[in-house]
């Protein structure tokens, strides 16, 4: 039973969105409680809950909450350890309180204040034979899209699968070989090495078919996004397109002879933003913070709440700093570039 996210609501914390994704956020105390459903559910039919979710920071504690539909309507809580790799699976069948009909299902997380949770789906699983098989195959065949971590490790399919493919493939190949060896001996033959190799290679190919599916999916996406484009056009559609555009806007607006740009931004402590901006600006040097501000410094102002610029009056002021006379070099919605007079 897939619990529609439309019926989910934030009980404690804030309901926010990131692009097309729902991203409920913990409150200032780091608590986030989400009611997943208000429906009446027969627990006997659903011994497992599967959440496809990724938290900004690893929750220090996580609980599943439910309320009995009958009798005194007691609320129960079950603590569970958050895996943190995209899929959380809770085995509920062994919990003595998971019985009868329940009304209301919620999760409670304790995280860093204001940390978000990207919640894609919540599903109650029946754990029948066909359901388990369907889940296993379904999870094996989830293509793994490229991510920054892909050069460090690869899941292969869905993270945290119910049945990991590698040991399953190896066990199947080993059992097949044992059966073959038994049959060979019954016929008075010595088991062949070649057959063992064939079973091993067949298992490898089966695992590799899944990997090829991921590679093909990635290649299709990459081709659709980048094929036939110049390197400038590629960067303008890449994941970090906005940072690239900021860098190009700065670069185009600089007078000759400038070799250093000082960033004024609330994002100055964000490693990804500063690192990429710096990379795109090379060989121009980017100073990450206006501390100190050089005479005749060129300032790039990007998403800065702690500074104010009056372009008409030629005045720039940091929240904690003197007012400076500046000339505006670039006035763009993405970035404003000024030079200290």
């Amino acid at each position: 039973m897939r619990l529609s996210l439309e019926e989910a609501s934030v009980i404690r914390g804030e309901s926010q969105s990131r692009g097309s994704l729902w991203a409920p956020t913990a409150d200032a105390q780091g608590v986030l409680i989400i009611r997943l459903s208000n429906r009446t559910i027969d627990t006997a039919s659903f011994p497992t809950l599967r959440l496809t979710a990724l938290a900004d920071t690893q929750p220090v504690a996580a609980k599943l909450l439910w309320r009995q539909a009958d009798g005194p309507m007691t609320t129960f809580a079950k603590s569970f350890s958050w895996q943190g790799d995209g899929v959380e699976r809770l085995a509920l069948a062994s919990d003595p309180e998971w019985h009868g009909n329940i009304a209301g299902l919620a999760i409670a997380l304790w995280m860093q204040p204001k940390a978000g949770l990207l919640l894609q789906s919540a599903t109650l699983l029946p754990d029948t034979g066909s359901s388990v098989l369907a889940q296993a195959f379904g999870e094996w065949l989830v293509p793994e899209l490229w991510a920054e971590y892909s050069v460090n490790y690869l899941f292969g399919g869905a993270p945290n699968p119910r049945v990991p493919l590698l040991p399953a493939a190896f066990v199947i190949a080993a059992v097949a070989f044992v059966i073959y060896a038994w049959l060979a001996r019954r016929r008075g033959l010595r088991p062949s090495f070649a057959m063992g190799a064939i079973f091993a290679i067949a298992a490898w190919i089966a695992v590799d078919a899944r990997w090829q599916l991921s590679l093909f999916t990635n290649l299709q996406l990459t081709a659709g996004k980048y094929a036939g484009k110049t390197i400038d056009e590629k960067h303008r559609v890449a994941e970090d397109a906005r940072i690239y555009q900021v860098a190009e806007t700065i670069r185009r607006g600089l007078p000759n002879g400038v070799t250093k740009v000082t960033l004024v931004s609330d994002l100055a402590d964000t490693e990804l933003f500063v690192g990429k901006l710096r990379y795109y600006l090379f060989p121009l040097w980017l100073q990450a913070k206006p501390d100190p501000i050089d005479p005749r410094a060129v300032l790039a102002i990007v998403e800065s709440k702690n500074s104010s610029l009056d372009a008409a009056a030629g005045k720039f002021k940091l929240a904690q700093g003197p007012s400076l006379d500046v000339e505006t070099l670039v006035d763009d919605p993405l970035v404003r570039v000024v030079r200290v007079r």
């Binding site: 460090n152 490790y153 690869l154 590698l166 001996r185 008075g188 070649a194 590799d208 390197i231 590629k234």
Partner: protein
């Protein structure tokens, strides 16, 4: 110069690499072209970076013309040396005058075609991915890319322009600069085309070397396919810009040449192994340690071949023990530091992470399962005199990984599995070829025959 210029840079590097290795590997009709081209491409790229460094040191600048001229000169010297040796009839020792039968028939031919086709398609797909996608993984734009960009823009290898110098060798940066020089402009997608091609070179060379030790075309094509299909290698080819794949390729080629030397006794293969072991540290500092894993293997091989010189053996053993003790004391004095690594005596509680990454996550397909199963089934072959040096190399490599995983601070970076597989990837090509070695050794004594 555009794409044609890029193609020219690759061809020049390939030609130079093939030419300088020809005196070792060229043997007329008996030459394994796959070995020559595979090893030649990797060697050519390394040679290119050395020529760029030499040109810059000689104040000739960092330009396409100077590097191309250096590569043409290297090609000419290599070709001349090969011709000279051929005229003197000094072919690489131990090589047959003619290649053995090299085709399959029936279902084996169909299977051979299938494995070759899948392998080519895999490398082709990875090449397209690298060709289209701009620099993607973190260290590629945070650690390696900035140096490349600064050096390409300023044509000055001493200029860091405020970017921190990580102290790493410049081979990666120079490979990227070479591609950009060919293109005539900065392109942080196409400049990485060497990565998937290096994987292709490894696969091709492994095919050739498997044939050299007598594997059938089908068996060699399976080895090539296995190498091309290991996910962590593929990921580094598709998302290029790290030093780990070039290091894995050069160390892997060194290990494979050593294995071939162990089987064939061809001195040229030992020279090849040492040559490529010397290249590994040019990409990344841990390459020094990987290259050192060849030492016990070579010593074991020499020890086995020395015959009954008991006294010499004892002397050798004592010298090695003394050197090891001296090395230990020296390392201890330096708190066992190698770059950022520091050793300690108490093991890290990281076994679970290692097993997750080796056996559950799909980083290596079934490689570790097959290795363990292979060693359990064929431990006699693995420890027999014929394969003892190869097993020593694998044991040294695994021991190096075990020490760094369990007894150094590297575990501190594993919260997101950050380095475990980027350390292991270097050993993967050697492991795959080693599986071929032990399976061949066992196959020679095992066939499907009626039991007596």
């Amino acid at each position: 110069m555009g794409n044609l210029g890029l193609a020219l840079t690759l061809l020049l590097s390939l030609a130079a690499g093939v030419a300088v290795l020809s005196p070792l590997l060229w043997n007329g009709a008996a030459t394994r072209w796959q070995t020559l081209v595979g090893y030649g491409f990797a060697a050519g790229l390394v040679l290119t970076t050395l020529i760029m460094r030499a040109g810059f040191a000689a104040r000739l600048g960092l330009s396409f013309g100077v590097t191309a001229a250096g590569l043409v000169l290297a090609t000419a010297i290599g070709a001349a040396a090969t011709l000279l040796l051929r005229r003197r009839n000094v072919a690489p020792e131990g090589m047959p005058a003619q290649m053995p039968q090299s085709s399959e028939s029936g279902w084996r031919r169909i299977a051979w075609i299938a494995f070759v086709a899948i392998t080519i398609a895999r490398i082709g797909g990875l090449t397209l991915e690298a060709w289209w996608r701009p620099l993607f993984p973190w260290d590629a734009w945070d650690i390696w890319g900035p140096k490349t960009k600064i050096w390409f823009e300023t044509r000055d290898l001493n200029n860091f322009y405020g970017h921190f110098d990580n102290g790493y060798p410049p081979a990666i940066n120079l490979m990227q600069i070479w591609a950009n020089l060919g293109l005539g402009n900065w392109d942080d997608a196409k400049m990485n085309i060497a990565w998937p091609l290096m994987l292709g070179a490894l696969v091709l060379a492994a095919y050739g070397q498997a044939r050299t030790i007598g594997a059938s075309p089908l068996a060699a094509s399976i080895v090539a396919y296995l190498l091309a299909s290991v996910p962590i290698l593929d990921a580094h080819a598709a998302l290029p810009g790290y030093a780990d794949l070039p290091l894995a390729v050069t160390f892997g080629l060194a290990a494979i040449a050593l294995f071939v030397w162990v089987v064939t006794d061809e001195p040229s293969q030992l020279v090849l192994a040492v040559l490529f072991a010397a290249m590994a540290p040019l990409f990344k500092i841990p390459g020094v340690l990987w290259s050192l894993t060849l030492v016990p293997a070579i010593l074991v091989a020499l020890y086995d071949r020395a015959g009954g010189r008991r006294a010499l053996r004892w002397t050798l053993a004592i010298v090695i023990a003394c050197l090891a003790a001296g090395g230990y004391l020296y390392a201890k004095q330096r708190n066992f530091s190698v770059t950022l690594y520091e050793a300690h005596a108490a093991p890290n509680p990281t076994t679970g992470i290692v097993l997750d990454n080796y056996l559950l996550l799909d980083n290596y397909h079934l490689l570790w399962y097959l290795l363990v199963a292979g060693l359990v089934v064929w431990w006699r072959e693995a420890t027999a005199k014929a394969l003892r040096p190869a097993t020593s190399l694998i044991a040294a490599g695994v021991a190096f990984l075990a020490v760094s995983f369990l007894f150094t601070n590297s575990a501190a970076w594993w919260g997101d599995y950050g380095t475990i597989n980027r350390a292991t990837i270097h050993l993967v090509p050697a492991l795959v070829f080693y599986l071929l070695l032990i399976s061949r050794a066992s196959n020679s004594r095992s066939t499907t025959v009626p039991r007596s």
